[in-house]
């Protein structure tokens, strides 16, 4: 059974990224990204340099390829999706709905990511006349795209361009202007190899670069031309043609990039430069992993990225339509990417293959600097290459980062930090860019300012001066017996001429009418006109005002004892009291008026929370002013109310009215109010925290949002067509108000204890906020100390250097340089070079970790792979915890997969978990893939064996063993204790390399015989 599901946190890896004008707005480019099962549309705001997510679309499948596609003469890009659905899907983005809509969906094959079902590769004709969708092997389908009479996009039935026994490494559409659409494919034909028992043909067969031409007149696809390649290639890059460039294709091969085109064009070949003094294996080939192209009317260039993340700028020089030279120049180093996009606004978006994604501003194009140009005209021997030195970013400036949890290797959920709510401790990343991320459910809050106040305030508001003002003018802070007014400018200072009564606390204040202010304090109402004239309304003797509700034209106050007085602003700007008052059956605890809807004179309803545990809706309509309309009983006394009118997204149709009720028991109720009868319907409850819930109106993305303050603060907001109620990752707040200023267009001013804080919430729509700690190697596993809040984790990488081996290798290389020098001057120079070599240490989280050559690995540079870790309490020393770390030695992952045994390190853990000491090392016959505490001994899974160890003085002592009989060397096994009584069972889960199919094996331990028996 498969159920469609929505996850709290969608996938954070970006596998595909393409840019285009998807919204169809002139000069605006968006980036469409594929995150496995989600398609998102991103916009990089040129003003703020921040990435915004415009649309988030679940596809309930796997997105394998994305491509932007534009019809000839069109201004809007469509998004072509290759997926595991056996279909080609063309989507159009509608900015007004903020959603993708399907234009075409053509089925061509079975579902699933299969070898011969197309979906893996997509290529489009640059003139927008055809799309090719290809499979890993054999199948390629070409769809002819056109317009019908209504200018709608049409799609033809597919044309086949299949070739049996042929693997496809890459496909691109060649820019041939308006000649027949042509696609270039990087292919490998294995038919002859399959019929040759000697294995000689395999060594001889070369990849071919094949051109397929779609004959638009005959409506079929022909294999136009194929050419064998000298070096095996992994990627193709299309070169602009027609007016913009020479057309053709750049083939990225191992160690070389080659420009090729049809016709008279000779091949232009440049070796991919290598890092100078690199610790990396010198015999390994270099490949290009991704590219980005930028094209303007005057020029074009490519950025290509190699495996360590180094970006090169590639330019082509032409003479009479023939390319004569290709230049390669080191540009900058960024994390290795799955995809890169250059936007017209000068941004470079880098979708990292592992770890966070980055947005860079291209500050300069690297045209006028001292970095050497490597040209195809420079004569080099075969196999030789150019060298360059890496350096920190020079041409790029990092402007924004998107969090990514990919690859998530291990995670632990628990409240280790003792924060009431659990955190997720996630191990992720690879190599030098690995991190431990602590995830907390909540929105990240940016703290703009924190200032101390002379006492503990009770409430805070912001007011504008007049309706035309864009920004708030004052912050009003109320204390137990005073009111403080602050003016907002470059800095926030105390204002003395505000007209507010400073010697009394304030119950509520707002701008009223066009430009006057209103202050409600316990003894009356103060109406401050723009010219500082003050009209006062005094509360009747001995009856104080306890609550108030205000909007731009209406004022409702509640007197002690439960009486409501209502005022309305007339056309002259005078506040008039309504002749009648409304008595209620209890004290008024809270009240709320919604903002006046556009084009109307008043808000129709007043919501009042009464101490008898009800909330009442009172009419403010002139025909039945203050008449009770409806009431609803509440499970607990109300603490705070907020009436909000929510207009539909398209601004059509009537607004719906929502009432949010914060209860004293910490719950939030949300109900819909009938716009005519005032009935309260459809109540939803949510528990927010231990303290009474207070509600405040704030603005988020230009829409009303509610900030809820309880023991935690929450934000209820509308984002991407959904309501989100998310906690804020911040200290608990007592009171809050919206805050709009020049520096902070959508902020929140809040009070917590005796401080006034100005906050901003930026990353909307996310469920978690991240705190990141850097690690040195890929983390493998972790464990949590049962009593102390301590995490232990093991990190290791296949074929990586350790610090010691890195230094040794560096010194060896430096010594080599020195040895080579013979002449005295050379010796001097070599010495200098060698010293530089010995002292340069590249930061591995920026420049990636080097990979040790197999020969170096044999010398046991770093040949230990940490595989498993467990806390074990041995029965011999019951009061101590031992941390057992299982390792593999000298692992070869394939051809064939072998190892030179393994070992278990035993560490003694201090009681508070603060330190651990090595006790001993136990050699094993095989890689130790799993360890588990098992009744006072350690249950260890290694290779095909499962073994029980007990503690010994010199090493662990094997007690009994079971040969599982399955090839476990490529299995990730996890041993779990379960069951009761005398029996325990261990399960071995999940195979690693073959497929994620679960083998579960039941093993029974017979205590009397000390035997492990396999049970099916």
């Amino acid at each position: 059974m498969h159920l469609y599901n929505l996850t709290l946190q969608h996938q954070t890896a970006i596998n595909q990224a393409v840019h285009g004008a998807f919204s169809g707005t002139a000069k605006v480019q968006e980036i469409a990204i594929g995150r496995g099962n989600v398609i998102q549309l991103l916009y990089c705001d040129p003003k703020t340099g921040k990435i915004q997510t415009l649309c988030n679309h679940e596809v309930f499948g796997i997105v394998r390829s994305l491509m932007a596609f534009r019809l000839t003469g069109g201004t809007k890009d469509f998004l072509v999706v290759g997926s595991d659905s056996g279909r080609i899907v063309i989507l159009e983005y509608h900015p007004e709905k903020a959603a993708f809509e399907r234009v075409h969906q053509e089925t061509f094959g079975k579902t699933g990511c299969r070898r011969i079902v197309p979906g893996h590769y997509l290529a489009t004709d640059p003139k927008g006349r055809a799309i090719l969708i290809g499979a890993v092997e054999r199948q390629k389908l070409v769809y002819v795209m056109n317009r019908d009479a209504q200018a709608n996009l049409t799609i033809s039935s597919p044309l086949e361009a299949h070739k049996q026994f042929t693997l496809c490494y890459g496909v691109v559409g060649i820019d041939v202007g308006f000649e027949n659409p042509t696609f270039a494919c990087l292919e490998y034909d294995y038919e002859d190899c399959d019929n040759d028992p000697t294995g000689e043909i395999v060594a001889k067969t070369q990849q071919t670069l094949t051109f397929y031409e779609l004959d638009l007149g005959l409506n079929h696809v022909v294999r136009k031309y194929a050419e064998a390649l000298q070096d095996p290639g992994n990627m193709l890059i299309p070169v602009p043609g027609g007016q913009d460039g020479p057309s053709g294709v750049i083939v990225c091969c191992e160690n070389y990039i080659v420009y090729k085109n049809l016709g008279d064009q000779p091949d232009i070949r440049v070796p991919i430069p290598r890092r100078r003094n690199d610790l990396d294996d010198a015999d390994r080939s270099l490949i290009v992993i991704t590219y980005a192209m930028h094209k303007t009317k005057l020029m074009f260039f490519f950025l290509i990225q190699t495996e360590h993340g180094d970006i090169f700028k590639v330019t082509l020089e032409t003479e009479e339509d023939l390319v004569v030279e290709m230049k390669v120049k080191y540009f900058d180093t960024v994390p290795p990417a799955n995809a890169m996009c250059i936007l017209r606004t000068g941004f470079l978006f880098v979708a990292s293959e592992f770890g966070n994604h980055h947005l860079y501003q291209i500050a300069q194009l690297g045209d006028n600097d001292d970095e050497p140009d490597f040209s195809s005209k420079m004569q080099l021997e075969e196999g030789e290459t150019f060298f360059y030195g890496v350096r920190p970013l020079r041409n790029l400036v990092l402007v924004d980062t998107m969090n990514s949890l990919s690859p998530l290797i291990n995670a632990h959920i628990g409240d280790l930090a003792r924060e009431d709510a659990p955190q997720i401790y996630a191990l992720n990343g690879r190599g030098g860019r690995s991190t431990l991320k602590v995830l907390r459910n909540g929105l990240e809050v940016g703290e703009m300012a924190v200032s101390e106040l002379p006492g503990n305030p009770n409430a805070v508001w912001t007011v504008r001066r007049s309706v035309d003002d864009k920004y708030d003018a004052n912050i009003v802070v109320s204390f137990v017996n005073a009111t403080l007014v602050l003016s907002i400018g470059e800095t926030v200072e105390e204002a003395t001429d505000s007209g507010f009564l400073a010697t009394a606390p304030t119950l509520g204040c707002a701008m009223i009418g066009d430009d006057s202010l209103l202050q409600v304090y316990p003894d009356g109402i103060r109406h401050i006109r723009a010219d500082r004239r003050v009209n006062e309304w005094k509360a009747p003797g001995r009856r104080q005002i306890v609550r108030c509700a205000l909007n731009n034209r209406q004022v409702a106050i509640a007197l002690a004892g439960g009486e409501i007085v209502y005022f309305e602003l007339d056309v002259t700007g005078q506040l008039n009291e309504f002749t009648e008052r409304r008595a209620l059956p209890g004290e008024v605890l809270c009240m709320s008026l919604s903002e006046i809807p556009e084009g109307e004179l008043r808000s129709r309803f007043l919501a009042v929370g009464v101490s008898d545990g009800t909330v009442r809706m009172i009419s403010l309509d002139p025909s039945d002013t203050l008449a009770p309309l409806s009431f609803q009983a509440l499970p607990s006394a109300p603490e705070s109310l907020l009436l909000l009118e929510v207009r539909p997204d398209d601004n059509k149709g009537p607004a719906s009215i929502h009432l949010s009720i914060g209860l004293q028991n910490g719950c939030l109720l949300r109900t819909t109010v009938d716009g005519v009868t005032g009935d309260m319907l459809d109540t939803r409850t949510r528990y927010l925290g231990t303290r009474p819930v207070k509600l405040f109106r704030v603005k988020i993305h230009n829409k009303d949002a509610i900030m809820c303050a309880s023991s935690r603060s929450w934000l209820l907001y509308h984002f991407q067509n959904r309501f989100h109620l998310t906690p804020l990752s911040y200290t608990s707040l007592e009171y809050a108000a919206g805050f709009v200023s020049e520096q902070c267009p959508e902020g929140i001013v809040a009070i917590a204890d005796n401080t006034l804080r100005i906050l901003a919430v930026e990353k909307l729509g996310v469920a978690f906020n991240f705190v990141q700690h850097d690690l040195k190697y890929t983390p493998r596993k972790m464990l949590v100390h049962p009593s102390a809040g301590v995490l232990m984790l093991i990190e290791s990488d296949h074929a990586a250097y350790t610090d010691a081996s890195k230094t040794r290798k560096r010194n060896e290389m430096a010594d080599d340089i020195e040895k080579l020098a013979v002449e005295p001057e050379e010796v001097e120079l070599a010495k200098e070079l060698a010293d530089v070599m010995r002292n340069t240490q590249l930061e591995e989280n920026v420049f990636s970790s080097p990979r040790a050559a197999p020969a170096n690995r044999q010398l046991a540079y770093h040949n230990l792979l940490h595989c498993s870790i467990a806390l074990v309490q041995f029965s011999q020393i019951p009061d101590m915890y031992m941390a057992l770390v299982g390792c593999g030695i000298g692992q070869h992952l394939r051809h064939p997969a072998t190892n030179r045994g393994g070992c278990i390190y035993t560490f003694l853990l201090a009681t508070n978990g603060e330190k651990f000491d090595l006790v001993h090392r136990t050699a094993t016959e095989d890689v130790v893939t799993a360890i588990h505490d098992f009744r006072g001994s350690a249950l260890v899974g290694m290779g095909k064996r499962l073994r029980v160890y007990q503690f010994g003085k010199k090493k662990l002592l094997a007690k009994c063993e079971n040969k599982v009989g399955l090839k476990l060397f490529d299995l990730f096994c996890e041993v779990r204790e379960g069951g009761g009584g005398v029996r325990g069972y261990a399960s071995i889960l999940r195979s690693l390399c073959v497929k994620l199919r679960g083998y579960v094996l039941r093993i029974v331990y017979q205590f009397g015989k000390k035997k492990l028996l396999t049970k099916c």
Partner: protein, 91 residues
């Protein structure tokens, strides 16, 4: 009798059609090498096409994803070595 013959030919034709349409469809004379080679090619193609699997293998091998994909494609050429020597009887 005649009907049986045509049916048999029909089935054969269908099989041949399947074999030409779907790479990897087995046949009566399929040997161990052919079968396992197909299995491996299917597996490599699947691993390469599932983004999560590709990342997984890349982390295990400490390689970039692009390199892992390239390696998997290269291994699809002859995942299980050259084919078996054909015995003269088969010809």
């Amino acid at each position: 009798m005649a009907a049986q013959v045509t049916e048999r030919f029909h089935v054969l034709a269908q099989l041949e059609h399947l074999q030409s349409k779907y790479t990897g469809t087995g046949h009566a004379d399929c040997n161990r090498w052919e079968w396992i080679t197909n299995q491996h090619r299917d597996t490599h193609a699947s691993n390469m096409s599932h983004p999560g699997m590709l990342s997984h293998i890349a982390v295990v091998e400490n390689e970039s994803r692009a390199r892992t994909r390239f390696n998997l494609l290269n291994r699809m050429v002859q995942p299980c070595g050259p084919p078996l020597e054909k015995s003269p009887l088969e010809e």
